[in-house]
């Protein structure tokens, strides 16, 4: 216990400064919320991640956003468990038949104003699963998407940049 306490008190802060991703990785589709909401979200954004049928590669990258190197929280963002608390839905994976309805319900459960960011090639155009019998389509076929972050999987910096770009925030 003492060793643990010593480690806690002496460990340095390892957070790295933000690296903006290249523009080819991001696509801003439409801004559905007004400028004031975007400004407010720029200081405080609560994110609810929804796996609509992904292979979990994107989830690992999204999970990395919580570690000390990327540290999502310093931008005022946080992951939340309930869509009622959420301002942003982070959707991964091609939308499968079984997840289409739950995804819509999750979107409806979130209070306005909200944004939707689709993460990964699968969320963009179904990626390697395009045409599969269990797949309904990309996220934009089910929900109104504000921004897409391409990559298979995209790097955490890209995901972060995508969210910030969707808010038109300088971060």
């Amino acid at each position: 216990m003492v060793a643990l306490l010593k480690y806690i008190l002496k460990a340095p802060v390892v957070t790295e400064p933000l690296e903006r991703a290249a523009d080819t990785d991001l696509e801003i589709l439409e801004r559905r919320i007004d400028a004031q909401a975007r400004r407010i979200f720029g200081r405080s954004l609560h994110i609810r991640q929804v796996d609509a049928g992904s292979c979990n590669g994107c989830e690992l990258e999204i999970g990395a956003l919580n570690n000390p190197y990327y540290d999502l929280e310093r931008f005022g963002m946080r992951f939340v468990a309930s869509p009622r608390h959420a301002d942003c839905l982070l959707v991964t994976g091609p939308v499968t038949r079984n997840m289409a309805d739950p995804l819509k319900r999750t979107y409806e459960a979130a209070p306005h104003p909200k944004i939707v960011v689709a993460v990964g090639d699968c969320a963009h155009d179904c990626g390697v699963f395009a045409g599969g019998y269990g797949v309904v389509g990309p996220v934009s076929a089910v929900l109104p998407v504000d921004a897409v972050v391409r990559g298979c999987p995209p790097e955490p910096w890209a995901i972060l940049s995508g969210i910030l770009a969707a808010l038109e925030s300088r971060g």
């Binding site: 216990m1 643990l4 306490l5 806690i8 008190l9 460990a11 340095p12 802060v13 390892v14 957070t15 004031q36 909401a37 407010i40 979200f41 200081r43 405080s44 954004l45 609560h46 570690n67 000390p68 190197y69 540290d71 929280e73 310093r74 005022g76 946080r78 992951f79 939340v80 468990a81 309930s82 009622r84 608390h85 301002d87 459960a109 979130a110 209070p111 306005h112 104003p113």
Partner: protein, 315 residues
């Protein structure tokens, strides 16, 4: 003693302090926790931004819920504000300390918990019911510890009224030089962790519903209702820690209404709360959450400590 309008002005200032500074306390704990985990962490003002944002959000209410769901956040915040009138934040004697003693304070908190538990059941979700069930179980099991710890302090101070206790301890500091006092403090601190949903009883940052206690009850809240609930939780933490600091370590509490005394009280409170924030942040980083059915063991342990506190006071 003091001019009544001065006392009322001080009370209003204390109320403002509790209401406005409690999110700062939460932000401070989060930032310190982040630093201990080796990351930059959010700004200490982040809770204010979160609350600001929540006011610009729509309120989504479950179609199964009743007026209790919409009423509870208001009641929660109200009970915390009324409790803030009773807890000696800056000055030992307040204009409203006649409202009640420490027992009244504990039961005002219980009133808030009662309604929050009802609100958890109201939407008809299993998460909410689970959170309510666990929350009231922990609140019930923490009650004996609280009362016995109060007994331990009351029998040395000769009173159960909060201002009386602080004045007595302030006047005779040697009364506190007692193993019983320290033991009562430990017991009270464990109860503070349990009642405010901090590790090792409850993880305030968890996303797994099966591990939630307090969070599970508020999963349905959104918008300004959620803002009220979060604010009330922050105020509860602030009041609990203020109560512990001023009761067990009453140095700096203003015994008169002079500006110097009040400023000293403010700085002393800031220092004490800062130390507690650091202690909680360190504890949350070093300790893992207890399994739900080991929490009663923890509370029984704190009860034993409180019993020891009382026993030592008799000898």
């Amino acid at each position: 003693m003091e001019h009544p309008s001065t006392e009322i002005a001080i009370e209003i200032a204390q109320l403002g302090l509790v209401g406005l500074a409690s999110p700062l306390l939460v932000g401070l704990i989060r930032r310190m926790k982040a630093r201990f985990q080796g990351r930059r962490g959010p700004s200490v003002l982040q809770p204010y931004r979160d609350l600001r944002k929540l006011f610009s959000k729509e309120v989504v209410v479950s179609e199964n819920s009743s007026w209790i769901f919409r009423f509870t956040p208001y009641l929660l915040a109200t009970t915390m504000l009324v409790s803030a009138l009773i807890v000696p934040v800056l000055a030992a004697t307040g204009a409203f300390s006649f409202l009640g003693n420490i027992i009244v304070l504990m039961y005002l908190f219980l009133l808030g918990t009662f309604f929050l538990a009802l609100a958890g059941l109201d939407a008809g979700s299993a998460f909410g019911g689970m959170g309510s069930s666990r929350e009231v179980a922990i609140a019930a099991l923490a009650e004996p510890t609280v009362l016995i710890a109060i007994f331990g302090i009351a029998l040395r101070a000769g009173t159960t009224s909060l201002d009386g206790m602080i004045v007595r301890f302030g006047a005779e500091p040697l009364l506190m030089l007692n193993a019983g006092h320290l033991l009562a403090f430990i017991a009270f601190f464990v109860v503070a962790l349990a009642e405010n949903g901090r590790l090792p009883v409850d993880n305030p940052a968890t996303h797994l519903e099966l591990t939630m206690i307090h969070e599970a009850m508020i999963l349905e809240y959104s918008g300004r209702l959620l803002a009220l609930v979060e604010w009330a939780a922050a105020m509860k933490l602030f009041l609990f820690l203020t109560l512990i600091s001023n009761l067990f370590f009453p140095w700096g509490v203003a015994l008169s209404a002079t500006p110097v005394a009040l400023l000293t009280a403010f700085l002393a409170l800031a220092l004490k709360l800062g130390i507690f924030a650091a202690a909680i942040a360190l504890l949350e980083t070093a300790v893992a959450k207890l399994r739900l059915f080991r929490v009663p063991e923890l509370l029984t342990g704190s009860f034993t400590v409180a019993l020891l506190a009382v026993a030592t006071s008799f000898f």
